[in-house]
Amino acid sequence: MRIEGKGRIDAGQPVRFWFDGQGYTGFRGDTLASALLANGVRLVGRSFKYHRPRGVLTAGSEEPNALMEIGRGAAQVPNVRATVQEIYDGLEARSQNRMGPLAYDLLSVNDLFPNFLSAGFYYKTFMWPRAFWEKLYEPAIRRAAGLGSLSGKHNPNHYEKAFAHCDILVIGSGPTGLMAALTAALGGADVILAEESAEFGGRLLSEEEEIDDQPGADWVASMLDALRDTGRVRLMPRTTVTGAYDQGTYGALERVGLHVDGPAELPKECFWRINARQAVLAAGALERPIAFPMNDRPGIMMAGAVRSYLHRYGVAAGRKVTLFASNDDAHRTALDLMASGVEIAGVIDSRPEARARGDYPLFAGAQVIGTRGRKALGEITIRNNGGEQRIETDCLAVSGGWNPSVHLTCHMNGRPVWREDIAGFVPAEDAVPGLIPAGACNGTYSTAGCLTDGVAAAKQALAAMGGKTREIEIPQASDAVGGSKPLWLVPGKGRAWLDFANDVTSKDIKLAAQEAFASVEHMKRYTTQGMAPDQGKNSNIGALAILADATGRAIPETGTTTYRPPFVPVSIAAFGAGAQGKGFAPERLTSSHDASLERGAPMIEAGLWYRPSYFPRPGETTWRQSCDREVTMTRNAVGVCDVSTLGKIDIQGPDAAEFLDFVYANLFSTLKVGRVRYGLMLREDGHVMDDGTTARLGDNHYLMTTTTAAAGEVMKHLDFVQQCLRPDLNLRFISVTEHWAQFAVAGPKSRDLLNGLLDAPIDNDSFPFMGCGEVSVMGVKGRLFRISFSGEHAYEIAVPARYGEALFRQLVTQAETMGGGAYGMEALNVMRIEKGFVTHSDIDGRVVPFDIGMERMVSAKKMCIGKPATMREGLKGAERQQLVGLKPVGAVQELTAGAHLFEADADPVRVNDLGYVSSVGFSPTLGQFIGLGFLRDGPNRVGEVVKMVDHLRRVETRVEVCAPVFHDPDGEKLRG
């Protein structure tokens, strides 16, 4: 029911929205909850287990009941708190977790058998017959469980992530936060003031409260002006600080576009990483319910929320309101409502000494012991002076006192401390370094106290930063603290709920204690208390008190469960913003990328790079046709392939040679200038890290190449070796991978092709096999390396990256006139297998030099990384699986990588396993499949026949073990 003239909504701006298909009108400034209450909608959801009717309980993000689906289709968002969601024209909300209409949820049948569905009952049954769990019980449970629904469609909306930096982050903008922000800003600090709500002011907007003789809301407005005037405060409304992390890092979720029907590019949410030198936690307190019999009906609400709806939204939560409390807030609520003309049917104050403050019926020392009303509250029963009495009411406002919002102070394992005087937990000291709790979240409940606390906290923060503090006048305000006495549980007939969402009642807590789940963590896990979307914000302390009572312990001795981030749920789309689609990882493109695409080459991912798979020609319908042709073309004429993705590290300095001798297994100090050598690099644990070639460009100048995959790893490793192990060596190195475009030119006509482009022709003397040097390519200074990964007479030519595309086009065009052309990764792979060159498919990180026949490359003349570890007894000998070549010899001619090897007559089971196939390809050169694999004692079995079994692809074939070089074993072509 809307109260005219009350509230901060814009009565001139009606907003049309829908709930469960029914149209309603609210006003701009309404939340979905306030607008529904204004329209008299009280049943808004169903509980998790018993499917009990649920109404709005709170007016904040801690809401356990009013969770809804918002939006349609792919944009549908489940589990939205109606108490936080602001309405806009066209907003569509639906109730959730129901079977059938909300008012007639078929699953509410569960509510008839609560005694059979008590805490943990499912651990004790559903076990017979065994197959029924997965076939019958579990599917039924899964269907009934869960709350809202995902659409199953790709997220269509935009989300953002951002960084922010400040001196002092102030979390919350009630009286404490506002004073802290102003004090901090006047002290010269850059401040971020984060407020969860759409409006700054906290409880001051929800109360009849004066500060400096102004209404609270007016004082808030003047404070905001003052904050803006400092020029140092960034005001962030709709921003919830969700987590406290190390060294002053805070996570925060900003609701950027959830409250409007905005344009598509407007982000829905932004997840902020705020780096703050200091922070003030002014998060306030949350009101706690009282566990009394049947305390869960729609219409039973928190008293503070009832005042919020009245003062912020101009909504009376009922027509005939009753109140139940153990503190002064009930009276305050009654007076506020009466001032707006709402009837108060009674104030039930459990404190015998309570006295009425206005003209309303007071039942001092009384308790609510029952309620009625199927889908909403209609009547309560109270116990008063030994008698029982029924009172007709449609709204019962409850206050069991307040719990400081200590959550963020627990995110680094801080354990809150029990304060008997306020019957609540307050933050432990220095629980989060640099985070200073102040005001109600620190147990200070009076407005005057909060104002003072805010100033003191900001001064403490300024002092910690070494900044100056300025005296600031503290405004006048009430010092009333509410006079709360704890009231946890009202005994009586009927269930008394603690966790409204998960349907945990006081009986469940007691049952947990009875069954030895007496630790608070056991109780939580056994009963699911506090595991619902509100994470126990409303119920944990009450449950704890009941557990303490049931186990004969005091509350502080019983302890609390751990509050963990996020403080409010954060959508995965916000946490993971930017990654959807291609954004997950950077895309690295070679200089020939466009030219390759123009030639129709499909691109494949190689780490972060894209590389051409093959270059189809007209008439070729499968990749194999293209690949076979490219291999044959290269072997017979010339092929061109972009190899720029290989890591290139430029190494210079007087000790460069000694450094390379240390990081490579083999020697590089003996390499002559103008020559290239293959290098094997080991991890310190003796296993192969990477391989590649390194060229000596000058006495003190080397150029190392790495594989594409290991480029970053090798660079980090070299930095480690130099900085952490050998800072005595005088050298410098830097990655030049992106500076040079590099192309393999391979095949018998490779030199002819190059000589057509080089300004000075080369021959076998100027560029012998494994020679290198500077060249001039059509006027551009480049480098030429006579190296081969294909086994052919081949070169790699490098030019500065800006010339890469032009050179590639020129090379390919020229090659095509010579019967050659470009080749891609598939052909490259086949040719290297034909030649027996290993890649990371083979040297997969579990391989030592012995395994690939390179143990003699580990130089005996020097120490190097990984050498001692290769000497371990388990890393050599006939038990090791070693590199071999494989050729099919049976009826089945196919080889598959990933297949395993067995004796020809053995069962293909694990105990008979002899090894596996690591690389395969169809060799057009040999006209058959060939493979590389690792076979136990492999080199000694060359010529034998073993069995290859691929269970997964259903391939079984006999293979001949051979040496791992299929093509030109003597290397004549390389030198030609």
Partner: protein
């Protein structure tokens, strides 16, 4: 007290007042045959199998906090036997067979659900590596199916097959993989052990291990000295501290692993899905929350909590792989202490001290191992011989080089 549907009804009719404690709360005795340090999943399972299969019942499990309060109570609940290397293959296979029927064995519904695990791959090379693993699984007697892209699409239509950064080539499907209700596993073993006479002693921290003449004689605890013929260390992330009490250093560094759960949702993900191009794995619990995680936070830590970079990486992987989950909200994140071994595989072995045993190095894969870890450890403690499924889980394998490096990352602890 035997649990059954009939019992639930009977007790329900009498107001649930008749349920007995799931376990006793005994005071520690002066001496035990075996003292197990650590009342997590593995420690409790060890106690259970010692009692149930080896007839040893004069046993105490000493737990610093509450039973099942470590990683068994905070993980992503995945149960699978899809390892590729000799040693691990038979061990996890053994574990999965123990999982199958665990409810009946323990008379406790641990909700083991063989929903299937799919490991997605995103390149030809990755497919071949997964095929190698899958073939090992089948050779071992477990199940594995190589799905192509269309096979994945039929099973998981909600994945992004068109726009994602690293296209989905297919998946290695392990139908017998799945999930279980993690807490219930600890409780089921605890109850079973207690029923067989094992003393489960909570809030009892071991502060010293007594060794005389190279033989273990007992432990010092916050609840007094306890003599023991055999002492079995089973402290997961805290293994380093416990071993230090015996003067030992382990090939282990403890790091933090975060995990995440969303608010409850109606069923939307049926099986366990892992992403091959960034560490990300997800399933949906019976309660409806999406339970997911990723890689460890990489740095040494005992703080049981993580930081944002890894959290964001995990969420980003989720968003590129299955953008439909973007609209679900993370309800809770948590961190556990991972005992990362030097090759990423666990250790179940004797030590150089007579009567002192070590069970450690589970990295972030300890949950699925719970039954086999307990089973093999109990066998070792009772017989002083390794169980045949755990022959290769030796403490000296790092020294000999006979490591089991599934991730192929080498000896650096945090890379596994």
């Amino acid at each position: 007290m035997r649990y059954s549907g009939w019992q639930v009804i009977k007790q329900g009719l009498t107001g649930n007042r008749g349920w007995k404690p799931a376990w006793r709360d005994p005071a520690p005795k002066a001496e035990y045959d075996v003292v197990i340090i650590g009342g997590g999943g593995h420690g409790l399972a060890t106690a259970y199998y010692l009692a149930a299969e080896h007839g040893l019942t004069n046993i105490a499990v000493l737990e610093k906090g509450y039973l099942g309060g470590g990683n068994v109570g905070r993980n992503t609940t995945i149960v699978r036997a899809n390892y590729g290397l000799e040693g691990n293959s038979q061990f996890y296979s053994h574990s999965l067979r123990l999982w199958e029927g665990l409810e009946q064995e323990l008379n406790y519904n641990v909700m083991h659900s063989q929903r299937g695990v799919v490991n997605l791959f995103h390149s030809d090379a990755q497919r071949d590596a997964f095929a190698r693993r899958g073939n090992m699984m089948v050779s071992q007697g477990d199940d594995a199916i190589l799905l192509d892209r269309d096979g994945c699409r039929r099973m998981m239509p909600f994945l992004d097959y068109d726009q994602t950064r690293f296209p989905i080539y297919g998946g290695l499907y392990h139908p017998r993989g799945g999930t279980a209700r993690h807490d219930a596993v600890a409780w089921g073993y605890a109850r079973g052990a207690d029923q067989r006479g094992v003393d489960l002693i909570q809030k009892c921290e071991v502060t010293g291990i007594d060794v005389e003449n190279g033989k273990v004689t007992g432990v010092q605890t916050t609840r007094g000295a306890i003599r023991a013929k055999k002492v079995a260390m089973c402290a997961a992330g805290r293994s380093g501290q416990v071993a230090a009490m015996a003067g030992m250093r382990l090939p282990i560094e403890s790091t933090v692993l975060q995990a995440f759960v969303t608010e409850g949702l109606k069923p939307v993900i049926d099986n366990v899905i892992t992403y091959g191009m960034g560490h990300f794995y997800i399933s949906q619990s019976d309660k409806g929350g999406l339970v997911f995680g990723g890689d460890i936070d990489f740095y040494a830590s005992y703080a049981s909590r993580g930081n944002l970079p890894m959290l964001e990486h995990v969420m980003e992987a989720g968003m590129t792989l299955m953008p439909m989950i973007g609209k679900s909200k993370v309800l809770r994140s948590w961190g556990g202490i991972m005992d990362m071994s030097s090759d990423g595989s666990p250790i179940i072995d004797k030590t150089h001290i007579d009567g002192l045993y070590v069970n450690a190095g589970w990295c972030y894969g300890g949950f699925k191992a719970t039954p086999a870890s307990g089973h093999c450890y109990a066998h070792l403690i009772a017989t002083d011989r390794p169980h045949e499924a755990a022959l290769r889980h030796r403490l000296d394998r790092f020294n000999t080089g006979l490591v089991m490096d599934e991730e192929a990352k080498g000896s650096q602890h945090n890379l596994h």
